[in-house]
Symmetry: C2
Subunit: 242 residues, 2 copies
C-alpha cells in the first residue's frame, strides 16, 4: 500500500515529522505537497479533504495521511499508526504507549515554539504582535525551553537500554522528531539553543545520530526537504533570540 | 486492577477528562488529589513521580495514571489506554484511531482555550498579561472558537451511525471530553458560547446527553467534582467575554 501524505507546500511544518519517519523507513509514499496542482496535488488536494462535504471523517488540519481507505490526521496519531508498520516503534504495548506519550509531549512543545512568534493568534501576522512575541519568547527561553530539553535529556539518560535513542535499543519515530526539533531550535534560536543544549549531551548526540542515518542523509541531500524559513513553525527573528 | 489518577488538587483541569471516563464506566480508582497528604496523597505524591530520580518513565506533567506497573501520561494517551478497557471506545482499529484523533484535536483546543488568559506564558499571572489576554481572546472568540465548534458539529452530523455521540452508536470518551469542553466554555465565555452554540444543535444535545447519564449525574452530585474556578483552564473573566 502506497500512502499519500497531505501537507501544505513550502514549509516543513508538522508534515516533516511524518516525512522523516517515512523517509527513514524507506517507505514509498506520495508527498502531495510536491505534486503540481495540475496533476492533482498541492493545496486544492488538501482542501478536497478538509472542506469536502462527503468526507465522513475529515481531519481538522494537515498533516493527514491517506492509507487505503483510512484518512488519518494529527501528527502524533499518524506516527502511532505508522510506527509499527515502519518498524520505528517498540513492539510491546507499554513501550508503544510510552513512545506515543513522548511524541505528544513533543506536540505540545511544538505549539509552544510556534506561539513564541504568534502569542496573540495564528490569524494575525507576526508584525502585528511583535511586542507580545518578544515578551512570550523571553519567558519561553528563560523557563520553558530549558524545562522541556532537560526533561528529554533525563528520559534518554534513564533509558535502561542505553540508547542511542529515547526508548529501547533502536531508533524510533520519537527520536526522529526530537532531532527535528533540535534542528529547528538551532535555526530559530541559535544563541539560546546553543547555550541550553550544552547541558544536554545526549540530545546533541541523538540529533547527530539521526541526521547521520543513511536514508535521512539521502533525503536531506535530495532537494525534497524544504529549507527552514520564516513561514514555518521554527522562525529566525534575531530580535527574539536575545 | 485499581488505577490511581494523579492530578493537581483544587482544579478540574486536564485530570477531569480522565475522571469523567473513569466515572462514566463505574471504574474503581483512587483519585490522589482527594487523598490527604498525611495519607500519601496530594501534591507530594505527584512530585514523587515527576521529580523522583528513579522513575524510569517519568511523565512530563499531570495528569498521569498508575495502572499496575505502568505509568501513563498525557491526557489523550491515558484515554487511549483506558478506552477499550472501560468500553468507552469503538472496537475496530480504524475507529479507535479516529476517536483518538478527535481527542487530540480537543487537546489542541484546550491549549488554545487556556492561552486566552495566558498568551504570554503559564509562568506569569493573568494580571501581568491582561492587555495581551484581551487581544488573544478577541481573536479566539472571533475566529477559532467558531471554527473548532463548527468542525465538531460537522463531525457529529456526518457520523453515519447517527449518534448520539461523535463516533459510532455508543458514547465514547471523546463525547465525555467534548461535553466537558462545552461546560467549560459556558462557564468561561457565557455570552459568546451561547451565541456560537446556537449554530451547533448536535453539540448542545451531546452535552445534555452526557450530563444526563446516570453515573455522570451521580458523580456531579457527589461533591467530588471540583467546581470550575479561576485557577483552572476555563476561567471567567468578564472583561474577556465581550
Amino acid at each position: 500500500m502506497i500512502c499519500e501524505l497531505y501537507y501544505w507546500p513550502g514549509i516543513q511544518g508538522r508534515g516533516e515529522f511524518v516525512r522523516l519517519a517515512l523517509e527513514d523507513a524507506g517507505a514509498e509514499y506520495v508527498d502531495i505537497a510536491l505534486v503540481p496542482e495540475a496533476e492533482g496535488g498541492g493545496v486544492p488536494a488538501l482542501e478536497r479533504f478538509l472542506e469536502g462535504e462527503n468526507v465522513e471523517r475529515p481531519p481538522f488540519a494537515p498533516p493527514f495521511l491517506r492509507a487505503g481507505r483510512q484518512l488519518i490526521g494529527q501528527t502524533a496519531n499518524i506516527l502511532l499508526f505508522l510506527g509499527g508498520r515502519l518498524r520505528l516503534a517498540p513492539r510491546d504495548a507499554a513501550s508503544k504507549l510510552w513512545t506515543h506519550q513522548l511524541q505528544l509531549t513533543i506536540s505540545d512543545f511544538i505549539i509552544e515554539i510556534h506561539d513564541t512568534h504568534h502569542p496573540l493568534g495564528g490569524d494575525l501576522y507576526y508584525e502585528e504582535q511583535k511586542p507580545a512575541a518578544k515578551r512570550r519568547t523571553k519567558e519561553f527561553l528563560a523557563n520553558r525551553l530549558q524545562k522541556v530539553l532537560g526533561y528529554f535529556e533525563r528520559v534518554v539518560q534513564r533509558n535502561p537500554a542505553g540508547g542511542p535513542g529515547i526508548v529501547g535499543t533502536r531508533i524510533t519515530y520519537v527520536d526522529l522528531s526530537m532531532a527535528q526539533v533540535i534542528a529547528g531550535l538551532r535555526y530559530a534560536f541559535p544563541l539560546f539553543s546553543r547555550k541550553l543544549l550544552r547541558a544536554c549531551p545526549r540530545l546533541r548526540a541523538l540529533h547527530d545520530e539521526v541526521f547521520a542515518r543513511s536514508r535521512i542523509k539521502r533525503y536531506v541531500a535530495s532537494g525534497r526537504r524544504v529549507a527552514l524559513n520564516n513561514d514555518d513553525i521554527f522562525r529566525r527573528y534575531p530580535e527574539l533570540d536575545e
